[in-house]
Amino acid sequence: MTAAPTPTPSGAPGATEENATTQAGGTAGSGGAGKTAGSDERLVHRPLLQRLLGRPELGAVVGAVAVFVVFSVVAESFLRASSLSTVLYASSTLGIMAVPVALLMIGGEFDLSTGVMVTTSSLVSSMFSYQMTANVWVGVGVSLLVTLGIGLFNGYMLVRTKLPSFIITLGTFLMLTGLNLGLTKLISGTVSTKTISDMEGFASAKALFASELSIGPVGIQVTVVWWLGLVVLATWLLLRTKAGNWIFAVGGGQHTARAVGVPVARTKIGLYLGVALGAWISGQHLLFNYDVVQSGEGVGNELIYIAAAVIGGCLLTGGYGSAVGAAVGAFIFGMTSKGIVYAQWEPDWFKFFLGAMLLVAVLLNAYIRKRAEANR
């Protein structure tokens, strides 16, 4: 079905007359006659439905529409502009992390330290500025270096030891959890940081990480912009750059990738650095939004990020998924967490719904992928 081996009398992949025509037609591109142009036409006519079915984020989009419809019906206030703005904000704080986590998972690895890494990032920023009585931007910069350092540690440990990333980042997760509490207590004397809102540079940093932009009558949190920006950047990276090709390859077949010359170690370390960058943005938002940081925060969020990526169509085994899917996954989380409040349901049920949704989404994704591949 997929191929019909036609007899090639000369058989040589070297130079023949016929090949010359095929290639000339190919390079000319603009509607030249010959086999190449004909097949290109067939590509254009590939059914839209089938192309959609082949997308990893399809299941998530269907799920998001379903959740949206449900809450629109059961909660009157859900469709108000201010409510939607709140939903988007909740989605964005998750989505900023879910997108780089999805990239990492497409690359075939896990990171369990992401939740506490966000807290670490904001703690470093806050405490460095406060203790050094420096401009908060200095703290923000130091925090970026420290957070990237943690990502580098995860990635480097992974490629050097070749242990499963689950174990390595579980170690980082536990260590960071302890460090967050221990160091904060040691330096600040309490489990939370001191307020830095009266310090130099706070206003401008808040504008970048935690301000509200008004679009007409509606206020949109700046994190939504960060989130969408990251989705666009990640999608472009994945689908249109060499690095993106390498990410799919190291996740889908690490040894093959290495054998054809893909820098596997560099790609994986790069993915961990990407996650660290997300944690830094997220952490700075946390700090400049609330002014003080609780050092015990963040535990458990890493699984939410992973769940969002999986709902968005990322395979746990790597090599498949999309950034848009992860963003939609985060949007489902945002809608559910706020929708339950607007519907005046008992919020205790939130996690139950999420768990059920995760399972349904994964089953749906698996089913769709099977159908899509069978249809070819």
Binding site: A3, T8, P13, T36, S39, G319
Partner: protein, 305 residues
């Protein structure tokens, strides 16, 4: 790179043609005729002399010699555990040899990585990991050597030309894909091998190392793959064909190296070698005879009587 060019004028690197869009050699016939008389005087593309490899105190390979010439197929035969994989891993740059010499175009070499091997014109196609199954055919075709347009942070994949080239290159090999966007895992085993071979040829490999390309294939599929192996040879490439099937090897091979428990059990040229002899040596000769006797005499177990 430098040594063999004069001897094999016909061996225009396929990469150049592809880039220029106009093949330098118009006549399909010459590549086949030319190399045979010429190779004897030229430096081998790859030459291993008395190469040994140890994993700790385990001898994986001992004093194995091998020559690969342009336009010839060198077959490496051996049973499981004979050292075939170790041998190709050295040639492919995954491992380094411990003793002996490894020459590429007459220059002594020591490859640190598969990337370095590729850069020196040695492409390896592995039996089970030739492609990344979930990725589209065109992404697989260019994996590791993606063409880009634009510069700096705006460098992006030249998707259109990647798709087009993949399609036309595969068509040249007789694979007419309806859709280069389908995951390569949906192709048959033989087709996947062919894609991997086509890729190596397209990127201007001078030496093609094939690890058991027909091992998991049926008779017909094996035939298709062997045809492309022969096609690559006719295009002027030096081919190393690793196999444990003497019939396949005899069909296409010019030189035969037999490995047995890490040592070289024989090295032959095609002239003066019969298939029966190759099969006998390959399968352990007397060992096989003994086995056949044992099987004949095997008493029927009690419970089956």
């Amino acid at each position: 790179m430098t040594g063999d060019k004069d001897g094999n004028v016909a061996d225009t690197p396929p990469k150049d043609e592809a880039a220029a869009g106009a093949p330098a050699v118009q006549d399909p016939a010459p590549p086949v005729q030319d190399p045979a008389p010429a190779v004897q005087d030229t430096v081998p593309l790859v030459e291993l002399t008395d190469v040994s490899k140890f994993y700790g105190n385990i001898r994986a390979l001992e004093e194995v010699s091998l020559q690969v010439h342009a336009g010839e197929i060198t077959c490496v035969l051996g049973d499981n555990g004979a050292g075939k994989s170790t041998l190709i891993k050295i040639v492919a740059g995954l491992h380094q040899h411990d003793t002996g010499t490894f020459r590429i175009n007459g220059e002594e070499a020591r490859l640190a990585s598969p990337r370095e091997a590729l850069d020196r014109g040695i492409a390896t196609v592995y039996q089970d990991l030739a492609v990344v199954p979930l990725m589209p055919v065109w992404r697989n075709f260019f994996l590791g050597s993606e063409p880009t347009k634009g510069r700096g942070p705006f460098a992006r994949l030249d998707v259109e030309s990647m798709r087009r080239t993949t399609h036309s290159e595969l068509l040249r090999m007789g694979i007419d894909l309806r859709d280069v966007d389908q995951p390569i895992g949906t192709l048959s085993g033989g087709e996947r091998q062919c894609v991997a071979i086509a890729r190596a040829v397209y990127f201007g490999a001078k030496v093609l190392v094939l690890d058991e390309p027909t091992a998991a294939l049926g008779v017909k599929q094996s035939g298709v793959v062997l045809k492309y192996v022969a096609a690559a040879r006719d295009a002027g490439l030096g081919v190393v064909l690793i196999t444990h099937n003497p019939h396949h090897a005899y069909l296409v091979g010019d030189r035969f190296v037999l490995l047995k428990r890490g040592t070289m059990a024989g090295s032959h040229r095609k002239d003066g070698l019969e298939l029966d002899e190759l099969t006998r040596q390959m399968s352990g000769g007397s060992e096989l005879e003994q086995l056949s006797h044992e099987l004949e005499r095997a008493p029927v177990p009690q419970h089956l009587q």
